[in-house]
Symmetry: D3
Subunit: 231 residues, 6 copies
């Protein structure tokens, strides 16, 4: 059975990268967990921070719970400090431990090559790619699309999320403390889902299908290895 | 003064790659020429070709004239056979001759690196890049965005075409013999113009600005070389 | 249902690139076709050619039939001249026609980026990638591993072929007219299947699992699009 | 109006990367600021450091003032510790704050991809690229040429600095505390300015024109967006 | 005379990357030094660490001495903390100092581009590449093959180690505290030495020759510069 | 013993790419052959061709003989048509035959990746790289620096040609029929030899050393394989 783990830096990242894909995995019967490295306490703008606005940790936690409510997706946290992730031995071991605990077969994370992305995203992606290579059960690793502009991203894997796009828009809207950020707005979400199709399967895009797109360093196709052979 | 030449394989290619950009150059006072390598007689689908449908050469020529009517953009042709372009000495010399004749300072063409693009586009792009390197007056070369899916394209240059997008849609609609192709439809044109912004300047995209995007192998900025110094 | 088409230049190429993968697809119930562009009449060494040795067309055809006998894999031919493939409109249309006729959902071919590979392989790969982008039913494209040395190849997709490796060795041995070529020998076949694992899933390789490896420009995961929706 | 900000790690870096370009911008009427992250206190050789030689902070500050005297270029400092820059949230925010304060439209910095460059250069370049993507007014970002050998650098943007080369040599000579370093010598400065031309516009190089070269992740051409539309 | 320095993060790394190459250099009369950044105290698995197992520093030191005994290769240490290397000024200076002290002409280290490799390997490789560029005597730099899976590695340099492979297997077996790791096992060592040949010189591989493979950012061929000219 | 073959498209190409390197190989006792694919009859400018100027075949042949006179370098020709080289089976076989006949151990040719280079250079480079991979004796392949601007070229191999630079200038001056081309002028030759050093070994460049630079897909270092073992 597939056990899928999305390893992301902040609340809202998993919805941005792979909301529809995770729900499609659920629909096919997989176990799905979203593992967040931080509670996103840094999710205030410079302007707000200057005005002394701070985020309650549980504010963002409640938003995450609302976003995934009723989907059967599990939520877990590493509890690290927002804005300070570094791809060192400690972070790699923390992620590796969780992947082993969950018996993950497929790992979804940020892209470690998206060179202009948030520093936390890059650090966690690098650590997760490294950790996944040490976990025997991991047969597939997917890197989701960054929203930082001018980032290097060359997707080759598509998942059709036409049936889940409206719910993705709603899930992103749950992150009320982040309101006003362009990458959480419906227009961006819809255009990105369409653009992935126009880039890789344009005739389907012309027919209205929408997608989430991924890079992959390892994807095992047609798995033929019996589970019971594995230690 | 800027003398801009768009070197493209077929009718409709220049509108797809750079309609708004060429009109913006005109607005700033530049001379602009669209040079088409072929008359596009091959622009029939396999299905139509099987039914014996052939295109009259002047049908597509009239469409080109309609598309650029009233813009002040000049139109010229190399008169080569559609579908059979090869980046050989003959093609390079033909393009080089035109670039010299027109005294081009900026050349816009297809991307020679868009590895899944139409074979004619790749051949002409390779020949034009080579020819431009031999022409003293050429100070800037831009490669426009391919519409073939799964093509390698990494733009870094943007031109704001918000003021020209409606006219671009109309110009593409002039190519009536090509009706039904997804890449000529309004929805594709509008999403591509938006996607270029979301990728490189998202806050402007969120504000409704739209763009044409280009790769460049050479772009001369802040030109400080007096024309009269040149032979 | 999956309909898989392997588009290759010569007899023996499909076995080299994807023998185990094609049998695994058959095992899962897919229709599988091997489409060869040429009959491989050029498969003589320079030394043999100098001595006047020529290959009978049907000699290699019989070897292909022996290699795939009993597997349920269909064999088809484009009948083009060995050694003279070029990625032009004619070749693209021929491949596109076959992909449409077979309703292919997955296409396997040579890598168009394997820059030191056989010129026929590169030409056919380029044409097939281009053709596949025009065929609505094609949702996945895989590029198999070249055997030419010093070729650019960066696989990310693995298929476990442990159960099929012995048969792959036997199938390659059917190509008796090509005897003596190092890339058809058992030692190379076994080391390549192991090396793919050591590179991407080393703990599985250490446990004796062997693989075929692929690059991909497009892989549709978790297909959720009902067939009946398609035109 | 153009507001250009050069964000560099140490005194002398802005002169190395873009002296002629910044003066050309001034000549065209732009506001130009050089923002230095550190005062360059680490600019002593290992040998000198071993002998206990330390640099007075104001020694290098005075050299910077001498280098830019009379040019109309403003000089600003972040005041960070030389040798210890890291591309973390703190550095990104510091740069972002300055870019917003200055209303920068064009940002020039080190190349974040010059993999063998000084660690401070890479850290600052990464932080600045990230910061610039968050600043609405930034429409163009340029990465200057590293002097560290064996660095990855693939410039596509040229600025003709023939009229400014002699002054560039003089400005670099103002950095007397750094005397003896090969990359500050006249011969290197002149050959580098020539080499940029030979690589990208050789007929101009043969005619004696010299250049500064840049990579770019975003360059807005033919700006058509009225300033007053911007918030 | 050649003075070769292998700069590696941990005990066993030099044997993995370049055992045969270093012995071949010795055979040709070169001075050879292995410089280890750490004593490898972190070389325990997560499971062992959880059980409280710690490594004695001198345990791994003795293994290194056994591995290189009788080869004439010198061993040196930087004495840094295992797992905590960072490519900062301190590390660069430490490596630079050693390269100068040893008068190294050829430097062998980890690959700084092997993006999924151990964080210590990447940090040391980056620092060493940077340091080597500052050391006048260094004319050649080689990056050895990582064993971390899914790492970017594109070797172009081969050294035939057929005569040394059996001894390489024995040297790796000296690292008894690391027993059970797949990359120290004989089967991996032999397949990797064969795979390097199959990839770059397959006819030699077919004849049984085995190799170590390297990337290079700088390789000086046919050295014609008299030593006495150098300062 | 080393047997070096430079495979180039036209007269003057071998001098441009590798004059100093070939003389250095001679100095060390190697057999050296320059193999030209064409006699360079196309070496007239468009302007001259328009005036009816044609080149006598033996004019360029005599220039080649003058350029290499007294060096001990052998000269050979494939006799193909200038401007019409294509990387097909015929060209690959012709080059392969010559490499076998000469028993070449090192092959020097144009760069197949220099994407804006002369079409003949790219075709011959592609064919030669392919041919060299089939020739057992070839242990090293070097790609010389293109002079076409805006070409992709990332050299890592240096040969010090300080002792040969004056003779290289004189050899290039022998190509009198090509007079006036910028890439044959002394200033370009000297700056290119210096630039290779500044890019890869700047402290040596500062000391006046000059180099030829190469890319390599395969370089065998410390050759330890007895000649007599080879078939």
């Amino acid at each position: 059975m597939e056990r899928v783990v999305a390893v992301v830096a902040h609340p809202d990242d998993a919805e941005l990268l792979a909301y529809g894909t995770l729900l499609r995995y659920r629909q096919l019967g997989a176990d799905v967990t979203v593992l967040m490295a931080t509670h996103g306490a840094g999710g205030v703008s410079l302007a707000d921070a200057a005005r002394g606005i701070r985020l309650a940790e549980d504010a963002r936690t409640r938003e995450v719970q609302a976003a995934w409510a009723g989907t059967g997706v599990e939520v877990a946290w590493l509890g690290l400090a927002d804005g300070a992730l570094r791809p060192d031995r400690s972070l790699i071991s923390a992620v590796e431990g969780e992947l082993v605990r969950l018996g993950s077969t497929t790992v979804i994370t940020h892209s470690p090559h998206a060179d202009n992305d948030h520093q936390d995203h890059l650090a966690l992606a690098t650590a997760t790619a490294n950790a996944a290579a040490r976990v025997l059960s991991c047969r597939t690793v997917l890197y989701g699309e960054p929203h930082a502009p001018r980032s290097n991203f060359a997707p080759t894997v598509l998942v059709d999320i036409t049936a889940f796009l409206d719910d993705k828009v709603k899930a992103l809207a749950q992150h009320r403390t982040q309101g006003g950020r362009w990458y959480l707005e419906e227009s961006y979400t819809r255009q990105r889902a369409a653009a992935a199709g126009w880039r890789l399967r344009p005739t389907d895009a012309a027919a209205g299908r929408v997608f989430e797109a991924f890079e992959t360093p390892l994807l095992t196709l047609l798995n033929s290895q019996p589970e019971q052979e594995r230690p």
